[in-house]
């Protein structure tokens, strides 16, 4: 999936969750700074999983310094694992 599509998906998703226009979503911020917590990360990762067909560790979402960094990492396939026989991940 191209970078631009992940970027657009994330932008659309955040605009909807935050109820702000897409143009106002700033990718150089953290999810946390938007008041989004690990529950939101779980939901967002779940949505992206359906888009991409890969398992995404929602705990990793909260680790990136910015949403932009997360988009870039996803585009490069970081933190993505094929959907099969995943061991349990332990990460609060």
């Amino acid at each position: 999936m191209a970078d631009i599509q992940i970027r657009k998906w994330v932008r659309d998703y955040l605009a909807e969750v935050l109820t702000i226009p897409e143009a106002e979503v700033e990718l150089d911020r953290t999810l946390e700074s938007y008041g989004l917590d690990s529950i939101e990360a779980v939901l967002m990762a779940g949505g992206l999983e359906e888009e991409l067909g890969f398992e995404i560790d929602p705990a990793a979402f909260l680790q990136y310094p910015t949403i932009e960094a997360m988009v870039v990492a996803l585009e490069q396939g970081e933190g993505l694992e094929p959907l099969a026989d995943l061991p349990l991940k332990v990460a609060p």
Binding site: V42, L43, L62, V90
Partner: protein, 413 residues
């Protein structure tokens, strides 16, 4: 201890932790960064006895509350994972003194029957049967074939389930993993919800039967207490029973098989305990300290606070590493050794403070029986096949301990 010390790690030692032997990692952290921010766990990791003990005893650190998190997940448009919510529903109640007393009373209904049932004697008999069969076959798996069936027998007997139904108590498939504070993907949460459903469902029919006909077994007593103390429905109690099973199974059977493993590794200790049975309680305490199946207790800071000078923000998770505290050389000199004369503070295998494990005495009794059984077979030794540990970081699960009988015992003990 400052945040800078943690940041000095180029990577997170926790991500290099080997579940088959986590102790070198704990020792490294204890020496270099005893209050360590783990990017892998997204939480603070404590490895010194005093820090771990301090967090367990302090009301500013609350237990994790997966039920509330899962409810919020549903409110925000995620799936309603009702079985996982029912499984964890007792946890928020533990913060309220009245409710907490009620939950504990319901739980203790399960344990009060153990003398009357002759649980210890029944368990000892079962252990002897299993070992006799093992001796006849010349081999035994002390985890899957000894520790595991003994814990199943104990919980099945206490609940009052007929032995033909004990099989349903064997599966719990990591449902308790949310107690580690773990963030899981939706896919994984749905899988865990299905596992929780299987556990909760197993208690529904037995509870319904006990409404029809009063019996004096564990489940019947729990049913009456849950109604009187907490006004619970059958479904709520079924969730609680599933929770008890889910949090006790892997921890207890790993305590049993881990204790047995250690004995097989230390022939001198075995000989000593055979000669001097009065030393067995001291040995139990040491074995539990060294095995510590629950590796850490997860807490959440209720307000901005600090641990050993490190600022902890409200809402941040804290992993109080019980297993690391139990081998802190500052309080347990020569910590990896079994020392039957050891003094010092109490080990933290069952936690401490307001949320200390309620099943401690039961687990100790089961371990005592398992060890008594092993000590009757001096010819039992480790086999050539490897010991197999699970991959969990929260509950360290001992899956296989292949052992063999040598000499006359192999012919039938």
């Amino acid at each position: 201890m400052t945040a800078a010390t943690s940041l000095a790690f180029a990577d997170d030692p926790i991500s290099r932790l080997d579940p088959a032997d986590p102790y070198p990692t704990y020792a490294e952290l204890r020496a270099r960064a005893p209050v360590h921010w783990s990017s892998r766990l997204s939480g603070w990791v404590l490895t010194r006895y005093d820090d771990v003990r301090g967090v367990l005893d302090h009301p500013d650190f609350r237990i994790v509350d997966p039920a509330s998190r899962l409810s919020r997940l549903a409110e925000r448009g995620g799936p309603l994972l009702a079985n996982l919510i029912a499984f964890h529903a007792c946890l928020p109640l533990l913060h309220d003194p009245d409710h907490s007393r009620g939950v504990k009373r319901v739980f203790f209904q399960l344990l009060t029957g153990r003398r009357q049932l002759g649980l210890r004697e029944g368990l000892a008999q079962r252990a002897a049967e299993i070992l006799r069969a093992g001796a006849a076959a010349g081999r035994i798996d002390l985890a899957a074939g000894y520790g595991s069936p003994l814990t199943v027998f104990a919980s099945g007997t206490l609940f009052g389930l007929p032995e033909s139904e004990h099989g349903v108590l064997t599966a719990s498939a990591g449902v308790s993993t949310l107690l580690s504070g773990a963030v899981h993907s939706l896919r994984e949460l749905k899988r865990l919800d299905a596992e929780a459903a299987r556990l909760v469902d197993r208690f529904r029919a037995p509870l319904a039967e006990r409404h029809e006909a009063t019996a004096d077994d564990g489940l019947s007593r729990m049913l009456r207490a849950a109604d009187a103390e907490l006004g619970w429905t059958d479904d709520q109690l079924a969730g609680f029973c599933a929770f008890i099973l889910g949090v006790s199974r892997e921890t207890t059977f790993t305590a049993l098989s881990g204790g047995c493993l250690r004995l097989l590794q230390e022939p001198a200790l075995r000989a000593r305990l055979c000669e001097d049975p009065a030393k067995r309680p001291a040995a139990l305490r040491e074995l539990l300290r060294l095995v510590s199946p629950l590796q850490f207790a997860a807490r959440v800071a209720a307000r901005d606070t600090q641990i050993a000078g490190q600022a902890i923000r409200a809402g941040q998770p804290v992993c109080a590493m019980l297993a690391a505290a139990n081998r802190d050389p500052a309080v347990f000199p020569d910590p990896d050794r079994v020392d039957l004369e050891r003094e010092g503070p109490e080990p933290l295998a069952f936690g401490a403070g307001a949320f200390r494990c309620l099943g401690e005495q039961l687990a100790q009794m089961e371990l005592g029986v398992a060890i008594d059984g092993i000590l009757d077979y001096p010819g039992l030794g480790l086999g050539r096949e490897p010991v197999v540990w699970g991959t969990g970081m929260h509950v360290r699960e001992l899956r296989h301990v292949p052992a063999i009988f040598v000499g006359a015992e192999a012919a039938g003990g």
